[in-house]
Symmetry: C2
Subunit: 206 residues, 2 copies
DNA sequence: TGTACATCAGTGAACGCGCGTTCACTGATGTAC
DNA sequence: TGTACATCAGTGAACGCGCGTTCACTGATGTAC
């Protein structure tokens, strides 16, 4: 080895990490190979020494982002009483801060729609990470059987993803805040009958 | 007038209609001007006699698709008893048929995530149609005040959009069917307490 | 009714540009002796 | 310890290609007289 054993791996990891931010910000097709390499302080020519194709980087960057999100949520909730965990995840996910910072947020709202049109191989990689995220969320639901928790977690994640996507279209004004609040209310008061559903005060944009 | 008065308008409408299908299928950036014009039986050179820019067509095509969806749902539900209307919309939206035919389906799952990154002007046009769709859905919710119905409709639409996007990543196998079923169950049994929530049989892929 | 003309929706070549990908090369690094 | 060498991560020019957009032109149409 002419270079330290970990040198290339470190560079590779740096490209993936920077790309995962930029791809979440600009979409799976919204930024080019040259700009992604520049983010990591490199030129575009070296790209194919690290990745078989641009699409391969998109997959790696997505997986990286999802792994970080899953780990962060597990860490955040592990010190909480079980009954509060699910609500904590939902409040964090459907916050103005998350809406306004896609680059550091969940990769699903940023990338899932575009990925639905990619190759089967790419979609499978995404689906696997999606399932991991569902499992993580299901663990936060304490008042249901494992099977029911999984189904509820699937639907809750869909609601969170859809809400964040729509809130981002709405920008950061009242319409957008209302969309976030509607999603939070739906997820956090779902056990109450519709007619008697209490209105939770909306957490406002800081 | 050298040509029939409606001639150019008809061509314009044909371009918009064909484009709305292809853009929903391939995404807001997934198909070029030349291919969109070819869909309408034209060559690309005439494009700028009809639209100020490619983005202008994307907006028109989105508006067209949303108007058609809203009208179709209103028509579908108007002959039903009020109590059945909301469920009918949800069942139709979260069906395998809708998942597998994005070109003729709702424009939100197909385009919203990409639109969240467009210009303010474009996002405003989208937001306006989104609000119309929320209004339409709120009208189908009979057992709540207007304000509560609007909030529930917002959250329900977010759940439907997120569910469809995630189901499309999942393809058309069991994972994807499970995602659709979870969304349907969450929306159609929401009044029941979590622990007692009944499992509705999933409508299977035809 | 017939002929010359004006209109304008649509054509297709061309524009500059940025993309993903390839490849011969560089130069900093550690090795051999 | 010093010098020649081998390695290989990273460079930057170049590739073919498709994109959005522009524009001089065409030719079918209806009008004028």
């Amino acid at each position: 080895m002419r270079y330290a054993k970990e040198h290339k791996q470190e560079t590779h990891a740096r490209i993936v990490k920077k790309a995962s931010v930029k791809l979440r910000e600009h979409g799976a097709h919204g930024i080019g190979v040259a700009d992604l390499m520049k983010e990591a302080g490199l030129t575009h020519g070296g790209f194919y020494a690290h990745f078989a194709s641009r699409e391969a980087l998109v997959v790696e960057a997505f997986v990286y982002a999802m792994d970080r999100s899953i780990a962060a949520w597990r860490k955040k909730t592990e010190t909480m009483p079980p009954a509060e965990r699910f609500a904590a995840v939902v409040e964090g996910y459907l916050s103005a801060a998350h809406r306004d910072d896609p680059g550091r947020g969940c990769a699903l709202p940023a990338l899932a729609a575009e990925i639905g049109r990619e190759s089967l191989k790419t979609r499978r990689a995404f689906a696997a990470k999606f399932e991991e995220m569902v499992e993580m969320l299901a663990e936060q639901i304490s008042d249901a059987s494992a099977e029911a928790a999984r189904e509820q977690a699937t639907a809750a994640l869909a609601t969170m993803v859809g809400t964040l996507i729509l809130a981002r279209v709405g920008g950061s004004g009242k319409l957008s805040d209302d969309i976030l609040a509607a999603g939070r209310n739906a997820l956090l008061t779902k056990a109450a009958p519709v007619k008697a559903r209490a209105k939770r005060p909306a957490t406002q944009n800081p």
